[in-house]
């Protein structure tokens, strides 16, 4: 019977689970797999790891059963969001190492009882088990944003226009063909904007994963969705911008066709 090395990582939202995984990935010469169940086919972190660490095999939700048949030579990182039960059925037949990434000073919790190893994470407020936040996410694949509109919406979301937001992360496509990973954690300074190391998409609507996840309390999901929608560029506007950027020949890197 085969038995890959499985490392399951859990912790509160914004504690730094994915950051720890990306740091640890680099220490492994073996083939690595990454899974993030419970957020649909292509959650933001899965897409980001696929873009930033192309040697890592990312498994979308529908392929999670493959976990049972992976060879023993591989290393699997499975991230459990705060919204999921720590006892995932898919893990029941497997032996695995439990890592909890927790904010410093986090009081005794189910993560402490569950973990084999505790990693100190971001210095954010400890979660209140009696008042866990909501999670709202949506795929944005194919959508391209008007950049100033996106800026404005992100400011509004993170500053509380649509509820008390604890966490926002997303991948957003811009009309110059670039895609950005954007990350906000309440209690940490600023909003992180990071250009993803992927080719510019200058041929129509991008056919690659993008999306947004928002964690918070009293989220007005309809209003968030409407504000995002108001920042989507039309097909004609996308084409207009792409023609200009192609003419400008901004960079010599090849665009996806």
């Amino acid at each position: 019977m085969t038995a890959p090395t499985v490392i399951v990582v859990a912790g509160p939202s914004g504690s730094g689970k994915t950051t720890w995984i990306t740091q640890t990935l680099k220490e492994h010469a073996e083939t690595c797999f990454y899974l993030y169940p419970g957020l649909g086919e292509m959650p933001v972190d899965l897409a980001r790891i696929g873009y930033c660490y192309p040697w890592v095999q990312v498994l979308p939700e529908s392929q999670i059963p493959l976990l049972q048949v992976l060879p023993k030579e591989v290393v699997v990182f499975l991230e459990i969001g705060f919204h999921l039960d720590l006892q995932l059925p898919v893990l029941s037949a497997l032996s695995y190492h439990r890592v909890a990434v927790l904010p410093p000073g986090c009081p005794q919790s189910e993560w402490h009882e569950w973990a084999d190893e505790i990693i100190p994470g971001n210095a954010i407020a400890a979660p209140d088990p009696a008042n866990l936040p909501q999670l709202w996410c949506t795929a944005l694949t194919g959508q391209v944003f008007d950049p100033p509109s996106l800026d404005e919406v992100l400011i509004e979301i993170t500053e509380g226009a649509y509820g008390n937001v604890h966490r926002l992360k997303g991948i957003f496509e811009l009309p110059d063909g670039r895609a950005f990973y954007i990350d906000f954690v309440q209690g940490l300074e600023g909003i992180e904007y990071r250009e993803l190391p992927i080719p510019r998409w200058l041929e129509g609507r991008p056919d690659r994963p993008s999306g947004i996840e928002v964690v918070g309390w009293q989220l007005d999901q309809t209003a968030i969705a409407q504000a995002l929608l108001d920042g989507y560029l039309s097909a004609a506007a996308i084409d207009h911008y792409q023609q200009q950027y192609k003419t400008l020949n901004l960079e010599e890197e090849p665009a996806i066709r």
Binding site: D146, P148, S149, D151, E152, V153, E156, E159, G160, A161, A223, A227, D230, G231, L233
Partner: protein, 270 residues
């Protein structure tokens, strides 16, 4: 003579009342208004009636013009697609509730007011839609003041109050004539000022407080005033009267309802 200059009320009656009360305490002899009585806020008719009842001299703002002429601004009015969509919502709402006599009143407002060496405009002497941002190129800023024939140009529209002094301005002109060597001539412009009154009803300075300016024509002293008021009443009215709730949130943050201007080099093409 002591003047008060107010601008950009945007249907915010609570803010207007608070500013008028503050002006009452300043021994002001004359109030001037730089327009934008309507748009975004919940009380456009009431604000216009109040200004009319006090017989305050007023020039036409871009929103006042839009509600008469319809939306036809150039791109400087909306820096993003999102703000443009919100601006259209605000325009459509205002267009539905505005009384015919209020629209008629807004239609006949002048673009510019003058009093001796003072000139009053909404955006710039060129257009109600043009922004005179504090970071605007000095030559262009001076040209706007000179074109108004004023020593002090009062404007609004940016929603952030400021005073800009244009001093020691030296213009060098090269004169070319056939058969003669080029000749350079220099002109020195006397001190000119641009005074932006900020916004009574739709601030964009990071706090919800209303702003306006006091000007003493005898001493040429300018004072920027910031007036707290019960902005939550306006926020509640925004929601109650069917305007988008995001307008209330932005008002409470001092972030303006939807519009902003960031490009000081843009020359309005309207």
């Amino acid at each position: 003579m002591k003047l008060a200059v107010i601008s950009c009320i945007h249907g915010n009656l609570e803010a207007l009342d608070a500013v008028l009360s503050d002006i009452d305490r300043q021994q002001v002899e004359q109030i001037y208004c730089l327009g934008d009585l309507v748009g975004y806020g919940p009380y456009p008719n009431e604000v216009v009636e109040k200004i009319r009842s006090l017989d305050i001299p007023i020039c036409q703002g871009c929103w006042d013009e839009d509600i008469v002429e319809g939306l036809n601004a150039c791109e400087c009015s909306y820096p993003s697609q999102l703000s443009e969509k919100r601006g259209r919502l605000a325009h459509e709402w205002t267009n539905q509730v505005i009384h015919p006599e209020v629209r008629d009143y807004l239609a006949q407002l002048p673009m510019t007011l003058k009093q001796q060496n003072l000139s009053f405009v909404h955006g710039s002497p060129n257009s109600q839609h043009e922004y005179l941002l504090p970071s605007m190129d000095g030559f262009a800023a001076l040209e706007r003041v000179l074109s108004a024939g004023a020593d002090v140009l009062f404007c609004g529209h940016t929603h952030v109050p400021y005073v800009r002094e244009l001093e020691n301005a030296v213009l060098t002109v090269t004169v070319q004539q056939p058969g003669q060597a080029d000749a350079q001539q220099q002109f020195t412009a006397p001190l000119k000022r641009i005074v932006n009154a900020g916004s009574v009803g739709e601030p964009r300075h990071g706090r919800p407080n209303a702003t306006y300016v006091l000007y003493d024509a005898d001493t040429t002293q300018v004072a920027l005033r910031e007036v707290p008021y019960d902005y939550q009443k306006t926020c509640a009215a925004i929601v109650d009267r069917g305007l988008p709730a995001i307008f209330a949130w932005r008002l409470a943050q001092g972030m303006e309802f939807a519009e902003r201007a960031d490009d000081p080099s843009h020359v309005c093409q309207r």
